[in-house]
Symmetry: C2
Subunit: 230 residues, 2 copies
């Protein structure tokens, strides 16, 4: 078999970047528990690195809001609060709306086809009530639109804020009614993208995000009744 001559380009990643990329999933998956201290020693052992690059990675994660650094008291895994959700979703909404508008200006037919396919898959997973798959494809659709907008700055900003909202599985929680509505919204999202109707797509993405915000808030408030978050 032929060998790939450009194995991974010249993508030597620095150790701290590698650690950022490895720690993010640990945080958003909830393996590192919100409100607890980041186990520096354990992570050093686990990844086979010294404290220096790990601590560099924690500084970066802190600037993204995934951990909080307390002077002389170490790094703590942040948890999603109602206040944070109320703040982040409107910003994310504005950015996604922009992504829709920009995407309509320069999206290719290959890209719309890809979204169309993703959409069909997503509908299928809605029909079988496979929430995990639905959620994964949903993310891919939003990301595909984002990439179609061809604006790295926008992609990076959205990505950072999305990550903060993806911690634990808050977003994957939906009532039957909300799920149905979300699917309807996605029908429109697909339609407006195909029609290259930027204004309508932007409006729909914004409303979609606001509905998501409301749904997440509702879930969070239900969760928080027993005990307060850290």
């Amino acid at each position: 078999m032929m060998q790939n001559l450009t194995p991974h380009a010249i993508t030597r990643k620095s150790l701290h970047q590698e650690l950022v990329d490895r720690l993010q999933p640990l945080i958003i998956s909830g393996e590192l528990i919100p409100g607890t201290k980041v186990p520096e020693k354990m992570l050093c052992t686990r990844f086979g690195v010294s404290r220096t690059p790990l601590r560099e990675a924690l500084k970066v994660l802190a600037s993204d809001g995934l951990v909080r650094l307390e002077p002389n008291r170490g790094a703590w895994v942040t948890s999603v609060t109602v206040g944070e959700v109320e703040e982040v979703f409107p910003v994310l909404g504005a950015l996604e709306a922009l992504s829709g508008e920009l995407a309509c200006k320069c999206v290719t037919s290959d890209e719309t086809d890809a979204v169309r396919k993703l959409h069909a898959q997503m509908i299928k997973s809605y029909e079988t009530r496979d929430l995990d798959t639905y959620f994964a494809i949903n993310q891919k659709i939003h990301r595909a639109i984002l990439l179609a907008a061809r604006n790295d700055t926008l992609t990076t900003s959205c990505q950072a804020l999305s990550l903060r909202m993806q911690r634990a599985r808050y977003l994957a929680n939906m009532t039957e009614g909300r799920w149905y509505a979300a699917v309807q919204e996605h029908e429109n999202i697909l339609k407006f993208l195909i029609d290259k109707d930027g204004k309508s797509l932007a409006r729909t993405l914004l409303d979609h995000m606001d509905a998501k915000r409301a749904s997440v808030i509702q879930w969070l408030e239900m969760q928080n009744e027993p005990s307060e978050p850290v």
Copy 2:
């Protein structure tokens, strides 16, 4: 005189954060020259710190796009490129538009009064063609609106992107015609804020940002004719 009993709260800043705050101005003022290598050794001496916290700060600055880390080749001061401006300004526009909309929902009379005063000062500096002062007050107005929106996430996101655009003195360059137009736009910004007309304020801030983008691009392309940026 009475002593302030909450002197600075418990705001012990970590060394790396202090360094981030000190390095940012060096980069946006152009003291650290775009396209050149960040003089690690010199900065360690200057700030009297070892390489460890300085390098931590550089990782954070890199994630904000103010420096670029090249594996085994050190940190380089990034320069503003046409492509970057074309990317960042639309995002900044969307965020400022949102700040206008949110601000109109909850701005206090004290805050509008403050903006009114800043606006008057800014007009004065326009009349005397004091560009530096004009520019400084201009920033304060935008920041005041941002703060009135009461959304820390939005503030942080805007701030980060603004910083990237503030490198060197690109933004302070204006033709007489553009300057006049900018002042007119600001008259409207003030008016819509006072009227709490969120939609119009958002629209005006968006257009304002787009005009600024065009002006910066024009200036950049003029600059770049002699030699290419790094």
